[in-house]
């Protein structure tokens, strides 16, 4: 036989992956433009580069996770092995907590500062996330893969994006505000986006 089926099939899968990357590239750029536009219009926090090094590093890691790693997994552009996937989830949670609250987590336990309330930062986080969620739904990002869990990766990506946007905008150092209005709002957004994403996946994938 002159055919090597395995090679042809592999080439076909690679072609499909490249096509997916081309398809979702504009949606990712649009999301980035929107979040960038939000930061430009609303203004970045004046102490952005004066934050504790670990916190700034965590925020940069969150950008990397939300713009590259999580969408790549969710859209089927990257298939890391299970241990690495678990590592990514843990890294995303740890980076989000550190990015929002800073390294001095002991202050949170003190219970000082603001409690849960609907303020500008909650509205900004959820509002930003919902726009990115709409871009994701319209581009088909939640149904790019056969597995329903892919929707959770996309939801995680957009929630982290909204969190980093609000953290780079709001200069608050009140641990209560950062906990409830930044991290809490991102968690709420993650919940909403996950439910919406799973419904969209079910509808578009028929199961």
């Amino acid at each position: 036989m002159s055919l090597d089926a395995a090679r042809l099939i592999t080439a076909d899968l690679q072609l499909a992956r490249r096509a997916r990357a081309r398809h979702f590239g504009p949606a990712l750029i649009l999301s980035l433009l929107f979040v960038g536009g939000f930061l430009v219009l609303e203004g970045m926090r004046p102490d952005l580069w004066r934050q504790p090094g670990a916190q700034l590093l965590a925020q940069l890691a969150v950008w990397g996770l939300c713009l590259v790693a999580l969408p790549a997994v969710g859209l089927g552009l990257w298939f890391p092995p299970r241990p690495l996937r678990i590592g990514l989830v843990i890294a995303a949670i740890a980076a989000a907590v550190l990015a929002a609250l800073g390294p001095d987590l002991g202050r949170i336990l003190g219970g000082t500062g603001q409690g849960p309330q609907l303020d500008y930062c909650v509205a900004g986080t959820v509002g930003t996330g919902l726009v990115v969620l709409t871009i994701g739904v319209l581009s088909g990002a939640f149904a790019a893969r056969r597995r329903a869990t892919s929707a959770l990766w996309v939801s995680g990506g957009l929630s982290l994006m909204a969190l980093d946007a609000i953290v780079w905008h709001c200069p608050s150092d009140d641990p209560g505000h950062n906990l409830f209005s930044h991290l809490g709002a991102a968690a709420l957004l993650m919940l909403l986006a996950s439910v919406a994403g799973l419904i969209v996946h079910r509808r578009q994938r028929g199961g």
């Binding site: 055919l3 089926a5 042809l8 592999t10 076909d12 899968l13 298939f79 056969r146 597995r147």
Partner: protein, 212 residues
């Protein structure tokens, strides 16, 4: 340290999601078993290898239709591939019988068809619809027209007339190795011109029609 290997169903799931590494692992796990099965059915290693390649291609094109049924997902994957392989082998054997009947020219082999009767699903179940097939055929003929005459002739005799490499060698009065080289170059050129997806579809179409 021993790292647990993912099962066939887990690999299939990832392959269906587009993971080419998972396909590679699935291919490595299934190929020896399918090769053995096909070898037993057709009793010829070269043909079994041909049919194994065709099985993988057909399964790839039909993969969206795969669903796990029953309590044993790994067994379901193996059974799905085995069914495709067996259907292809049976179609191949039927084609051989038809060929013998044509050659015998008297109908004395008519009962041979009954000898390989099967209650398995027919290969037609895997066929693409007619419109798609017509479009693929048109594109393939356009691509074939771009090949050098010597390569085109080999492809036409192999895939369209259904001749084996040995028969083509005999007909063209050239060595079988030369036929294989021409075929290899021709298929590479076709895959380049058509792209992997369309080329796979053409192979599937040929595989189903070549036996009919």
């Amino acid at each position: 340290m021993n790292v647990a290997q993912p099962g066939l169903a887990a690999l299939m799931d990832r392959y269906l999601d587009g993971d080419e590494r998972a396909f590679g692992q699935l291919h490595a796990a299934l190929s020896p078993r399918l090769r053995g099965l096909l070898g037993k059915l057709v009793r010829d290693n070269a043909t079994a290898e041909d049919l194994l390649q065709a099985t993988l291609l057909k399964a790839h094109l039909a993969r969206e239709g795969f669903v796990v049924r029953g309590p044993h997902p790994d067994a379901a994957v193996q059974a799905w591939y085995a069914t495709i392989a067996r259907n292809l082998a049976l179609d191949h054997l039927r084609g051989q019988v038809r060929e013998r009947r044509r050659r015998v020219d008297g109908g004395e082999d008519r009962d041979l068809m009954q000898e390989i009767a099967t209650d398995l699903p027919s290969v037609e179940e895997w066929q693409v619809d007619r419109d798609t097939a017509a479009e693929i055929t048109r594109r393939v003929h356009e691509a074939l027209a771009q090949l050098p005459a010597a390569q085109r002739e080999v492809v036409e005799l192999h895939k369209l007339a259904g001749l084996s490499m040995a028969e083509i060698s005999e007909r063209l009065q050239i060595r079988e190795g030369a036929v294989r080289v021409r075929a290899h170059r021709a298929y590479k050129a076709l895959a380049r011109v058509l792209g992997p997806g369309l080329f796979l579809a053409a192979m599937q179409l040929w595989a189903t029609r070549g036996q009919a």
